[in-house]
Symmetry: C2
Subunit: 346 residues, 2 copies
């Protein structure tokens, strides 16, 4: 046969109508089909190695077995892990996953989301946070409405101002935990390198840090960078200008790597002179030197949970709480140690 077999070929071979063939082949059709007929149809389909045409089916059912995941940067291990978890979970359920990496350019992200709208994907997972900026917010809300309008679902894996169903890591608790860990080691000038203030993830982690600092009777001190290794390395200079910290908490492991690199360049030893901690527990940290103390975020599980949530929404049985928080865990390695200096009295 020159062309690929279509349903009518199967029907003809099985000597049944198109309708019956369709019903016999659809595993979750509730319409009754006699066993004899079904067997004949299945046999014919197998013989012809028939595969339903997904475009035709999608046109009819108004649903494509494809979801999308929007990330800030696929090359960032944090997002790469989430993507890994999400694509694997989706494929198990028969869904393909489109990956959109904005490379941290809001306009690019918006363009991607527009493409996703037009392609009518079943759902969109936003792995990164959104900008807190009128134009962005407005445009994004428009797209979200349009996705909802055609029956698509949306899930967020990072805190956002849009009120979408979300699966989030416990950023505050995690930041509190590392900070308390540092305090317990005798540190008293603990600085934080955070990400852009426009990202809620930054703010949540700052909040947890500030809270723990206050509880310990210490003064918070925050410097901002941009979630990249290089940006964090540069921020170290500003950080040292703000007094000499005994410990540095970076809002992400990627940034912590930049801090480590810069401190080494400056000849400052970690952890004997300064302790450094990160957040996320991206893969490979145990092979670094010094191995980074951090907070483990279940990235792959988060991606998988996002997919599960999306599919539940699509099936209309997502009656659970709107925001699901995933617990995080302190992972102590070599980059944090007892403070060299002693906290002055008072």
């Amino acid at each position: 046969m020159r062309r690929l077999p279509i349903l009518s070929d199967v029907a003809r071979q099985a000597e049944v109508s198109l309708t019956t063939a369709s019903r016999a082949l659809d595993p979750d059709s509730d319409h009754p089909v006699s066993e004899r007929t079904r067997a004949r149809v299945v046999a014919a389909a197998t013989r012809l190695s028939y595969r339903p045409n997904p475009m035709a089916r999608a046109l009819r059912t108004r649903r494509v077995p494809t979801i999308a995941i929007v990330v800030h940067d696929v090359s960032d291990p944090y997002f790469a892990e989430i993507v890994r978890g999400a694509t694997a979970a989706a494929s198990v359920r028969g869904f393909l996953t489109v990956v959109c990496s904005s490379d941290r350019v809001p306009a690019t992200e918006l363009r991607y989301v527009e493409m996703l709208c037009e392609s009518r994907v079943s759902g969109v997972i936003f792995a990164g946070g959104g900008l807190e900026e009128p134009h962005y917010h407005h445009t994004m809300s428009g797209y979200a409405r349009s996705i909802a309008h055609y029956g698509g679902a949306i899930v967020a894996l990072a805190p956002r101002s849009e009120r979408w169903p979300a699966e989030l890591p416990d950023n505050r608790a995690g930041a509190r935990m590392v900070t308390e860990h540092l305090v317990s080691l005798g540190h008293f000038r603990i600085a934080m390198i955070s990400g852009p203030a426009t990202l809620r993830t930054s703010r949540e982690r700052e909040f947890g840090y500030a809270q723990a600092m206050k509880t310990a009777g210490l003064e918070p001190s925050i410097v901002r960078a941009d979630f990249t290794v290089g940006g964090a390395a540069q921020a170290v200079t500003r950080l040292l200008a703000n007094g000499s910290p005994t410990a540095v908490f970076a809002a992400t492991d990627t940034m912590a790597l930049g801090v480590l690199s810069e401190l080494r360049r400056l000849g400052i030893d970690v952890p004997t002179e300064v302790s450094v901690a990160g957040f996320d527990d991206i893969p490979g940290l145990e092979f670094m030197h010094p191995a980074l103390t951090t907070v483990r975020v279940p990235m792959a599980e988060l991606g998988a949970a996002g997919v599960a949530r999306l599919l539940r929404q699509l099936d209309g049985d997502d009656t659970a709480t709107r925001t699901q928080i995933h617990p995080v865990e302190l992972v102590v390695r070599e980059s944090t140690g007892r403070a060299a200096a002693v906290r002055p009295a008072g």
Copy 2:
């Protein structure tokens, strides 16, 4: 309006036929449409914020504006970079990209490719190499035939036994270059940690290494690992058992990181005692300590080239050579230095 606007809504508003509306809105239609008419149609479409339904269009044109990229592991920086380059290039041309990460399990990869076949994506890019194993090869060839059958294109970004159009990094030249670099530093016991023998990328890099060794009158010595950090770290033991190398060339940066980690654990200094070099130049290496000497593979460009190639094939104007080789470049950093020992005479 309750439902999304469709082409006939636009046609009615613009007071033209469905056909004319379709033609007026199609930017690359060669059918003539008067400017006045086109303006009216475009105005109507804008007013209704009309978006063509991709499923209907796909059903008709038998083509989805979606491609796929199959990788061994999205979390591996090498593949992550390729994916970044590919998705960006695809989106510029209006294509969405499905990412399939097999997590180095051949069966998973095969399942993905089957899904891709059924979904009739326009093309598939294989970023990783294939297994040299009868069942895998046979099944994959079947899928490839079926993709070709419905008019889809295929491109490989790693050497494979299947004869597909390919965009490849110059693995041999790169391996030769690092090896020569090591030789020029006075090293004479240069060991290589390679990947699985079933992957052609391993073999090509081994070939370049062996060639340069022979030219220098040195004996090649290869130990195998599995392209992961942990695997390479374990391989170091076997490597040291094979005599004490003055330099180690790892077939990928990821593995080089494992070597570095293990040597540090063993208290062997790099580069004063042993030099280490990698391959790929994954991002962030300049922030490591010691910064890794490696061979730069233009990963993102490779991804973009793959997309360009795929699209050219789809347009039927890929008359170029079947395999396009991309040049690589030696990047000398801190992990390689002059050999401590001197080559014995003879």
